[in-house]
Each structure stands twice: as C-alpha cells, then as structure tokens.
C-alpha cells in the first residue's frame, strides 16, 4: 500500500508537468497581448522594453521554466508564510496577474473562501441529501418514492445550472423577493442580522448546486445499493434473523458506500472548478468567476496558474479516491 502510494505520487509529478506544459503551450498561441490597452503613442522600442520588463522577451522554454520555479517554490513559500506567520517568504519576482499587477496567489487566496463556502456547502448538502434518498429508493425499488426520486434526480441531473439559476432568481428574487439577486461579497458577518443576510444570499446558489450534486450522487447510491441487495451475504444476514434495520443500514449500506465514497472523492475538485457558471449567474466572486474574468481579459499568468491548480486538485483527488477504494474494500490489493 505504501509502495503503491509512493509510486502514484511519483508518477503524478511528470503527469502534472506535462499538463502544465500543455496548458502553457496552448496559452502561448493566444493572441492576447498585455500591452494591448496601452496608448498607441508609445514608441515601438519602448514598447519592446516594456514587453521585456513583463518577462515576455525570452524564449518559451525559459519562460516556462521560470514560471515553474515561481509556481513551485516562490508562491508556496508566500502562501505558507501568510498562513503560519513564519518568515520563509522568498523575496523577489512573483507571478503577477496582468489585470491587477498583484501576485496571483494572493488573489486566489482572497477568492477561495467564497467558493469554499458556497460550492463546498452545496456539495456537503448534496451528499447528505443523496445518501438517504439513494438508500431508501433502492430498498423500496419501484415504489412511488423510488419513482419520484428517480424522476427528480433525472431532472436535477439534466437541468443545466444556467437554466435553474435564472429560474430561481425569477421566482424567489424577482417575484417573491425573498432572496437578493446578487451575492454581496463585502458583507461582514458579525452579528445575527448579518448572518441571516448571509444565509439568504447563499440560499439560491447553494440550492442550485445541491440539486445538481444530489441528483448525481443519489443515482450512484441507488445503483450501488441495488447491486448489493441481492448478494448472498444479505440473505445470510436475514436468515440469521437479523432485523431489517441492521441488514440494510449496517450490512448493505456499508458495502454500498464503498464505490459511492470514491465517487464523492472524485467530485471534490469540481467544488473548486465546476461552479464557474453558477458563480457567474449569482455574481459570487469566487475562483470560477476569477477564471472567467481572467479569460475574458487574456490574463495569461492567472489562467495558467489557476488551471494548473485545478489540475493538481484533480490528480490529487484521483489518487485519494483510488487509495480510499483500497482501504475500504479489503478485496482490492494494488501491490
């Protein structure tokens, strides 16, 4: 197991290097120019010097190497220094956003809490709602509960968030006026009143994402429960005279959770990346919105860094899912 983990971790390094190279080269083709909005009266030689000052003068592989050094050594040192207060931050050049001219990692850390609160909470709610629904639907297969549950999860799975989002805004913000249309990020939660306000503005984006996540996970849960319900060990447990409650909630549930847990782990990176559209609709200024605005503005350092951060998360959670599978299911041996 340990060897396997180590091997996978080592294998992840070239994978991630390759992914960042691919993203880097893709962006290299980009027509965007950071000097595009400078006055046309700047003479060409000054313009050239400005480009060099921005680090655009070098050959691509040197720039890639420099970016890689900044991304893997300098930026993490600043992030760790910011969190722990240790004096380990490496002075000097940092990855600068072309939009704001401030370090990319600072902006990412500023935007992180909004995304984590809204999208993370929605994911958590999605899991909490989906598991009981999936269990009960499978236990009473083809009952009315199962039929409605399947229908709702099919609908939730099919409706794109850019449809449910505006629909909810229309009903609850425009017609009923219960919730604000726009998410106010400057709101400072310090008493009961502002807390309620925060809850109200989070309600719609969280609901949209919860519906989508719960729909997907409950389908997995139901299928996995159904697979297990007909196994021999369930018959054995019943034959031993165990109560239905113990058979379903202990024996079957524990075994059916194995694949579901890995699916949940695989979905966690989408907590960071997948909510681009929802954040755009409700104007939550989280990471997804950051990426979109960076793309609109051809802010290449920002797009590159964010995409590679997302790729790292995906690779990491893929590994975690595989390891969880092996830990939870003793029949699986990787070595």
């Amino acid at each position: 197991m340990f060897n396997y983990t180590l091997r996978r971790l080592l294998l992840a390094i070239p994978t991630l290097l390759f992914i960042s190279l691919v993203i880097f080269l893709l962006l290299e083709l980009s027509p965007g120019d950071p000097l595009a909005d400078m006055p046309l009266s700047i003479p060409p030689e000054v313009r050239q010097e400005m480009r060099i000052a921005l680090g655009m003068g070098e050959v691509w592989y040197i720039r890639f190497y420099k970016w890689l050094y900044l991304f893997t050594v300098v930026e993490p040192s600043h992030v760790i220094a910011g969190f722990t207060g240790l004096d380990i931050a490496i002075e000097g050049q940092r990855i600068l956003s072309w939009q704001t001219r401030s370090p990319v990692s600072d902006i990412i850390i500023q935007r992180m809490p909004q995304t984590l609160w809204v999208v993370g909470l929605a994911y958590l709610f999605g899991v909490l709602v989906a598991v009981p629904i999936g269990v009960y639907s499978a236990y009473r297969q083809y009952s009315w509960f199962d039929q409605t549950g399947s229908f709702i999860s099919m609908v939730g799975f099919s409706l794109p968030t850019f449809f449910t989002g505006p629909l909810l805004i229309l009903i609850f913000a425009v017609w009923l006026g219960w919730f604000p249309i726009i998410y106010d990020t400057t709101l400072n939660v310090n008493n009961w009143e502002t807390f309620l306000k925060q809850v109200r503005q989070m309600a719609m984006p969280v609901f949209v994402l919860t519906l989508y996540n719960a729909a997907q996970i409950s389908r997995f849960m139901r299928a996995s429960m159904l697979d297990n319900m007909t196994q021999d060990y369930v018959r054995t447990a019943r034959a031993k005279g165990m109560t239905e409650r113990i058979v379903v909630l202990v024996h079957v549930l524990r075994n059916s959770l194995i694949p579901v847990v890995t699916v949940i782990a695989l979905g966690i990176p989408t907590v960071f990346t997948g909510a681009i559209i929802t954040e755009q609709i409700f104007r939550v200024n989280g990471l997804g919105q950051l990426l979109i605005t960076a793309i609109y503005a051809s802010d290449i350092p920002m797009v590159l860094t964010l995409s590679v951060v997302f790729a790292i998360l995906i690779v990491l959670f893929n590994l975690i899912a595989d390891l969880l599978y092996a830990i939870l299911d003793p029949r699986i041996r990787y070595d």
């Binding site: 994978t15 390759f18 992914i19 691919v22 993203i23 893709l26 962006l27 083709l29 980009s30 027509p31 965007g32 229908f151 099919m154 609908v155 799975f157 099919s158 409706l159 794109p160 850019f162 449809f163 505006p166 629909l167 805004i169 229309l170 425009v174 990176p269 990346t273 997948g274 681009i276 559209i277 755009q280 609709i281 990426l291 979109i292 793309i295 609109y296 051809s298 797009v303 964010l306 995409s307 997302f310 790729a311 995906i314 690779v315 893929n318």
Partner: protein, 309 residues
C-alpha cells in the same frame, strides 16, 4: 424443472417462429420503458420543430423589425419578439438547429475517437499502456477552463479561415469532441479486453484472420451496445457544454442564435421579459432530459440479461 408443462399449440408455434432481427427485440424492450418512450417522442418532436418548423413559419430568425420590439405573446409572434423585434419562435427554431447539430456532430466525433482509442488499446497490448496513460492525462485536465481557453484562442483564426459560423461550429465541435472521448474509450477498452479472450476471437485468429478483420467482424459488433448508450448520453453532454460556452459568451457570436446564447441574452431582461430566458432554457432542459431517458431505456433494452423480463 420436473413439472414442465406439456407443449401447448401456442408454445409450439412460438418455438417455430421464423427468426427475427434482434433489433426488434431491442425495440420491444425499449417500448416497455415508459420514460424512454416518452423521451423519444419529445426528442423527435423537438427535432421536427427545429428542422421542419422554419419552412412552415413565416418569420425569419434574423429579420430585424425595430417597431415590433419587446412584444409579448400574440398571434403574429406566438413567443413574442426580442429587443430588436426579431421573432422569438423563429429564433428558437434556428437556435435549436445549431444546438442539436453541435450536439450530434460532437457526439459523432467523441464516440469515434473513444471507440478507436478503446479498441486499439484493448486489442493491441503493445500500445495499451501508452494510450491509457494518455486517457488518464486527459481525464486529469480541467476541462471547462480548457474549453473556454481553446475557444478564446482559436476563434479569430478559424473565423478568418472558414467564415464566422462554420469556423465557430468546427471549433466548438472539435473542442467538445476532443475533451469528452475518455469515458467511451475506457468502457470500450474494458469490453474489448474481455472479448479478446473469447473462443470465437481465438478461432478467427487461429485461421489467420488479420486483426483489422477480427476487429471489424467480431469485436466491434459486440461493443456496439455500450457505445450506443454512451453516444446517446454524449449528445446530452455536448448540448449542455455548447450552451454553457454560449452562455458564458465564448461560443457562437451574438447575432447567431443558439439556445445557450438566447438564455444568456434573455437574462439581461429577466425582470421585464422572463419568458425570453426561461423558454430557451426549457428547450435545452427538455432535450437533455429526453435524451437521458432514451439513454436509460437503451441501456436496459440492449442488455440481453434484462430483455424479455
């Protein structure tokens, strides 16, 4: 089976029924799935609406009539008009054509790629490792950001090469196809690995059939059902992805209606004219829902273990 009933005339007649194409069995099973059948009806209706509708409908999707702008539902404009007085019903049909065409084309591309890579990886052991590493690599890419970046980067170049509409169509179809073949490839590879060990494949190989023929004759027909199911689901994903790109303003240009574009245009007027954003959204949702139900029904119908129960 000690008390098997004596063969009555009916069962005897059934036993000597002339052989029947297996697709009829599939269809029989498909019919019993109510959701799938209604999904099929809805989907066919939407396709007819989008492709036959413009021939029957008097207004043109791009005709600007500024005097008739922002109208509500009426007999001349059943779904009203937009801020430039363009007929919404006609725009909905035109938008549907684009969205459905993108969905189909991206599905074909993605399924072809996925099947090709899956079959090659499953059948030829030598390049299996390489291809599967590549698949894993693609799965680790952050796809939506990448799609957005690709569409930002190449839109100018392709638009100048093929014209705005064709250029965008090629770009979006390729972008979606290239980023969505991995699931199909994995499923197909798994199936091919199992099929390769079957006796009939061994028999074919032992009489010297070249791999190309073994694949075409014995392997491909047997992986057809998972491929068909993932093809159906792929249409749904492709339509949603295209609409999401259009919604974020990185898909087709503004004067070129697609369902996603119509939703995103309509959101600006959500408070005054809610139907403008909700209706195209409803069309996308209905299409995707019906396609997903068809996929569900197809999965059951193509599984011979379930069929006939």
């Amino acid at each position: 089976m000690t008390d098997a009933p004596a063969p009555t005339p009916e069962t005897a007649a059934a036993a000597f029924r002339p052989p029947r194409n297996q697709w009829w069995d599939v269809w029989d099973q498909f019919k019993t799935h109510k959701g799938a059948l209604s999904g099929m009806i809805v989907f066919v209706a939407i396709v007819l609406f989008c492709f036959i509708g413009p021939w029957l409908w008097i207004h043109d999707a791009t005709y600007i009539n500024i005097r008739a702008r922002n109208q509500g539902f009426s007999w001349t404009h059943p779904l009203g008009t937009d801020q430039l007085g363009r007929d919404m019903l006609a725009r909905m049909m035109k938008g549907g054509q684009v969205s459905l065409a993108v969905g189909m084309a991206a599905m074909v591309l993605s399924v072809l790629l996925g099947t090709l890579i899956g079959v090659v990886a499953g059948y030829f052991r030598r390049i299996d490792g390489l291809l599967m590493r590549m698949t894993d690599l693609f799965l680790a890419l952050p796809l939506l950001p990448l799609l957005l970046v690709m569409s930002m980067l190449f839109r100018q170049r392709l638009s100048s090469l093929f014209g705005v509409e064709t250029g965008m169509f090629i770009l979006i179809v390729t972008a979606i196809g290239v980023t969505s073949w991995m699931q199909t490839a994995r499923i197909v590879r798994g199936d091919v690995l199992a099929l390769k060990e079957r006796e009939y494949v061994l028999a074919a190989r032992s009489i010297g059939t070249p791999p190309r023929r073994v694949i075409g004759r014995h392997v491909l027909p047997n992986v057809l059902s998972p491929v068909m199911v993932s093809a159906t689901l792929m249409i749904a994903t492709a339509i949603i992805t295209e609409s999401a790109l259009s919604f974020l303003g990185l898909g087709f240009p503004p004067d070129f209606p697609t369902w996603g574009r119509l939703v995103s245009d309509g959101i600006d007027y959500l408070q005054q004219y809610p139907s403008r954003a909700i209706l195209p959204g409803l069309f996308i949702s209905l299409t995707v829902l019906s396609v997903n139900y068809i996929g569900d029904g197809l999965r059951d119908a193509l599984d011979p273990r379930i069929r006939g129960r």
